[in-house]
Amino acid sequence: SQKIEQNSEALNIQEGKTATLTCNYTNYSPAYLQWYRQDPGRGPVFLLLIRENEKEKRKERLKVTFDTTLKQSLFHITASQPADSATYLCALQEQGGKLIFGQGTELSVKP
């Protein structure tokens, strides 16, 4: 069956460290993979999109990798700050298909 899995346990890290979040999928052939941030009581906010033929994408302190052989995407936040605390959702999209979301990983950055 098709599945998208993100770290189910909350990730707790110290301010200044790099946070790494994982998104694994099975039985999909995504053309695109997106990452969103969601704060409590709010709608998701788009962060980054990476295409199947791209290995890595960066935006300021954020970096996303996409390995179609391992069927995995990694999302990194460098020099993390307490303001980065939120739930992060990965979502994949097959060519011509809809966006399918993972369940999200809660990140907590302690000062």
């Binding site: 998208i4 053309a31 695109y32 997106q34 009581g41 709010r42 709608g43 998701p44 906010v45 788009f46 999109l49 959702l89 979502a91 999209q93 809809k98 966006l99 399918i100 979301f101 993972g102 369940q103 999200g104």
Partner: protein, 113 residues
């Protein structure tokens, strides 16, 4: 730009009642979506639209209906509300051919008792 707006923010319904969740966007996006999000879960697609007059079912359409008479508006109708429809509902829109980022509204928290 207001982006994507949703009303109401909160609503409590009794079993069997009906209501319409409103969604509007001012970005001239062709694609619009309705999702529901249950606690600790990802978003599940209910219905989507690729343009005015065109709608299609998503992963969990049962118990819901939609219409798209204009580019801006995409209301979601709940008929005969059931406790299983207790959830947070998000509307989203995207431009281009639907392969771009999605812009989400603030959500409607619905409780059915």
């Amino acid at each position: 730009n207001a982006g994507v707006t949703q009303t109401p923010k909160f609503r409590i319904l009794k079993i069997g009642q009906s209501m319409t969740l409103q969604c509007a966007q001012d970005m001239n996006h062709n694609y619009m979506y309705w999702y529901r999000q249950d606690p600790g879960m990802g978003l599940k697609l209910i219905y989507y639209s690729v343009g005015a007059g065109i709608t299609d079912k998503g992963e969990v359409p049962n118990g819901y209906n939609v219409s798209r008479s204009t580019t801006e508006d995409f209301p979601l109708r709940l008929e005969l509300a059931a406790p299983s429809q207790t959830s947070v509902y998000f509307c989203a829109s995207s431009g281009g051919q639907g392969l771009n980022e999605q812009y989400f509204g603030p959500g409607t928290r619905l409780t059915v008792t």
